[in-house]
């Protein structure tokens, strides 16, 4: 990744954060607007989860990442801490690839 792309991302992220604190008048946005913007992250996260589990470089593949995601889903459902979820997924994939 280039430094230029990194700094551009930093500038754009800051601009989004600063929109309210620096520029807005002292009132919160309308609930309808908040409701739609609150939903933006959800399809992106769902897309990231599935694509990064099944992506085999321009085609779909099923490998050790699939059972790893299954273990992660079980742990998320059991309300395990973030680090436990992530490490258990890595350990599952690493073990399956080692055998």
């Amino acid at each position: 990744m280039s430094w230029a792309a990194l700094l551009a991302l930093a500038a754009a992220s800051y601009a989004l954060k600063a929109l309210g604190p620096v520029f807005a008048r002292r009132q919160a946005p309308r609930p309808a607007v908040t409701r739609v913007l609150d939903l933006v992250a959800i399809p992106l996260l769902a897309g990231l989860i599935l694509v990064q589990t099944l992506d085999g470089g321009e085609r779909l593949t099923v490998d050790a990442r699939v059972p790893a995601l299954g273990v992660a889903a079980l742990l998320v459902w059991r309300r395990a801490p973030f680090l436990v979820v992530v490490l258990a997924a890595a350990a599952t994939a690493a073990l399956l690839r080692a055998i």
Partner: protein, 233 residues
């Protein structure tokens, strides 16, 4: 405001808020370690990983960038979903306007601290002064521990071998699942997740890396309609 607060000594609730803010910071620091390791696995230098945590400072977007780059996507394909994920910070910033204090220059500095954790902690307080304290304490604590965690992970990541042998590629979807799960209770959220996920997967064989994730954003349209029906019902 109490006498103790005027004397410059934190009141009991303030101390409890500060303690919680530190605990959240430590937890996020552990999460920063995994970001540092994954950033190195995706080809970033330790300096870039740390600069991203200090300057960009918004977790899901940072994971998205290194995830797309690790999957072979270019800078534009990596930045677009990251920025869309960061739009929720704009919503947070707007929702915090009533509790932020200070002149515009001071608020411009505080804006960097607008993230999931600081907003959630501020919203959990009844008193506006407490809310501002919770926002600042949580934001500063998370900023410091997230950056230190990234540094530790980046340095550790340099000594690791093939990221696939260690299952590091499986950490990305697990991390995103842990971020997504608490949001699924919102009206329209299940529609957004199912439509977005299906669309992204269907596009993997058809379009360049990174674009399937970006295209998933289209799912906000049926999701917003579903949410409106749920609210109206």
């Amino acid at each position: 405001m109490s006498v103790a607060a005027h004397a410059g000594r934190p009141t009991a609730p303030r101390r409890a808020i500060t303690r919680d803010a530190l605990a959240i910071g430590v937890a996020v620091g552990a999460y920063g370690v995994s970001f540092g390791v994954l950033a190195i696995a995706a080809g970033l230098t330790p300096a870039q990983a740390c600069a991203m945590s200090i300057l960009v400072f918004t977790g899901a977007s940072q994971f998205a960038v290194v995830g797309v780059i690790a999957g072979g996507g270019g800078a534009v394909a990596a930045l677009a979903p990251a920025l869309l994920l960061a739009t929720r910070n704009a919503v947070y910033g707007l929702s915090l306007v009533p509790i932020l204090r200070g002149r515009r220059a001071s608020r411009a500095l505080q804006a960097q601290l607008v993230i999931d954790e600081s907003t959630a902690m501020a919203r959990a307080q009844d008193d506006p002064e407490d809310a501002h304290h919770a926002f600042l304490a949580t934001g500063v604590s998370v900023w410091i521990f997230w950056s230190l965690g990234t540094l530790a992970g980046a340095l550790a990541g340099e000594g690791l071998g093939d990221p696939r042998d260690l299952g590091l590629d499986a950490m990305f979807p697990a991390a995103f699942l842990a971020l997504l799960a608490p949001q699924l209770r919102r009206p329209g959220a299940p529609t957004a997740a199912v439509v977005g996920g299906a669309l992204a997967v269907a596009l993997v064989p058809l379009v360049p890396a990174g674009l399937p994730i970006l295209a998933a954003i289209v799912a906000v349209v049926p999701a917003a309609l579903a949410a409106r029906r749920a609210v109206a019902a």
